[in-house]
Symmetry: C2
Subunit: 306 residues, 2 copies
């Protein structure tokens, strides 16, 4: 299984358009030790021919151009067969609307997430220009499904949805109820089942399902949004804490870093890192503490073979 | 009035993610004479302090980072006060959803376009997180309005909507009727009314209103989508002609180039250029013919002072 990190930042990316926090100021000034990052997404292939995106960020166009294996091989067409979408947050799904030039796609998500996207937004009619333009495949919790190409061919990869503590997307607050299938993580199994990739970009906190899922992985991308619970309020940038925004902060005795440190059976890479997170500065104590725990900090363009 | 071309390409940009046409192949290979372009948008300011976007393309995040005058000057906030939206096509408006980090914005468009965006898409609730998060201002045909900041201050610029031959956005075909306010061009007047910027990125063909509008301009950005009417069918990339897609092709006796050539009172710059258009290749006959007509070919980053 080939994996490329297309983007490693949280919603808004790094730097964020309207943010002048120390990290954003310094990365704009090209200070050493800070690297720009686009919004979180992976490209995965089991056969080196058909690629599936894990989430489709608003930055997908430039992410594709930065990844030669995703460039068209013919006058029209794309090696991208489709995508798996883990929640309805704009940073996880808005890019699907950028894949709109009459290209057949297979999209995999839960029924709840699909409905919030398609039934709530006429924009998605741009992906329904002809019969089978986009085929939606419904993921049910803990039920592995083959990742099929738009033509119905088996790519060899299997995807399994894991319900993960989260919340309804901000733009659906007040009109959609909380539901366990509003936020998922995924396990992707290679054709020989020897490699299992975990993708958990939005995790509000620990759970038994999460524990059992990560135990199966050989490599796991995990929510690295915030370092501390009060990260945004302390910078005067927002009133809500990390946990109120449904992200498990890394630091602290009950933080995700300590929990991840104990999962040494699997390669662990942080992804969906917010622009304010001190781990983005290589010289920071926080950055060093993550590495000392045996955990990697995702960067755009990172390639893995599992 | 300061103007920066944030993006000069049509929907899908140049190169386009799923296109391997000669232009896209060659620009990916960094062939000389071809320059990548992001999707069409301008940033305009009357006072060098408050900026308004003309259309908000899906590439807005990277476009902002490439334009130092649009970077935040404080811990949080943006010099971008808002945007004018000329139609509901995704390449003209999707980027508004990328300007979502609780930043107040003033958005100017017709009632028909606004309704298609806001009432048709729950995604737009991300721009309605608190009272007056986004203020929508309704543009009526030929009725100049001050471009107000979100705080209600007069930026000095005046905007006037000009109904332009066009069509309903693809994703609204079959659910919204054709309406003269589904597609507009705009005139922007400087505080002293000495400079008038025209922005006409989508023009299906000539009209008396267009003729009278361009006569008032000192500089005009104009639809440069296609060179020939059968450009896409001839490349085997689509079945519809330029005119069927509501774009007036440049070439031919009845093309827009001959029409524009006669408007020598105003500086004319082509924008919204499709990836297949031969004018994108500096060595092409088409490119030379545009320049010989006294007309410029827009590039990302071009700055003008009117």
């Amino acid at each position: 299984m080939r994996v490329r990190v297309l983007g490693s930042a949280a919603g808004g990316a790094f730097p964020q358009w309207n943010c002048g926090c120390p990290n954003c100021r310094r990365v704009r000034a090209k200070a050493s030790g800070l690297t720009p990052r686009s919004q979180a997404s992976l490209a995965v292939s089991g056969d080196g021919e058909h690629y599936f995106l894990l989430n489709v960020s608003p930055d997908i166009r430039s992410q594709i151009e930065a990844a030669p294996e995703l460039h068209p091989r013919h006058a029209r067409g794309s090696p991208i067969s489709g995508a798996v979408i883990t929640n309805g947050d704009l940073d996880a799904c808005l890019g699907a609307l950028c894949l709109r030039e009459s290209e057949p796609l297979a999209l995999f998500t839960t029924e709840v997430i699909r409905r919030g996207l398609v039934e709530g937004n006429t924009f998605f009619r741009t992906l329904a220009r002809f019969d089978d333009h986009v085929r939606w495949h419904t993921l049910k919790p803990h039920a592995p499904e083959p990742l099929l190409t738009p033509a119905g061919e088996d790519s060899g990869l299997r995807v399994e949805a894991i319900p993960i503590p989260g919340k309804v997307p901000l733009h659906l607050a007040g009109i959609e109820a909380e539901h366990p299938q509003q936020n998922i993580g995924v396990l992707l199994r290679s054709p020989d089942s020897q490699s299992v990739l975990g993708f958990f970009p939005s995790v509000a906190g620990p759970s038994g399902e999460l524990e059992r899922a990560i135990a199966q992985t050989t490599c796991c991308f995990f929510d690295g949004t915030f370092w501390t619970d009060d990260e945004l309020p302390a910078l005067g940038l927002a009133t809500r804490s990390a946990r109120e925004m449904a992200h498990w902060p890394l630091s602290g005795l009950d933080g995700s870093l300590a929990w991840l440190a104990s999962k040494s059976h699997t390669r662990r890479v942080l992804i969906h890192i917010n622009n304010t997170n001190p781990i983005l500065d290589e010289a920071s104590d926080a950055h060093q503490r993550v590495l000392a725990a045996g955990i990697e900090i995702g960067t755009d363009g990172l390639e893995l073979t599992l």
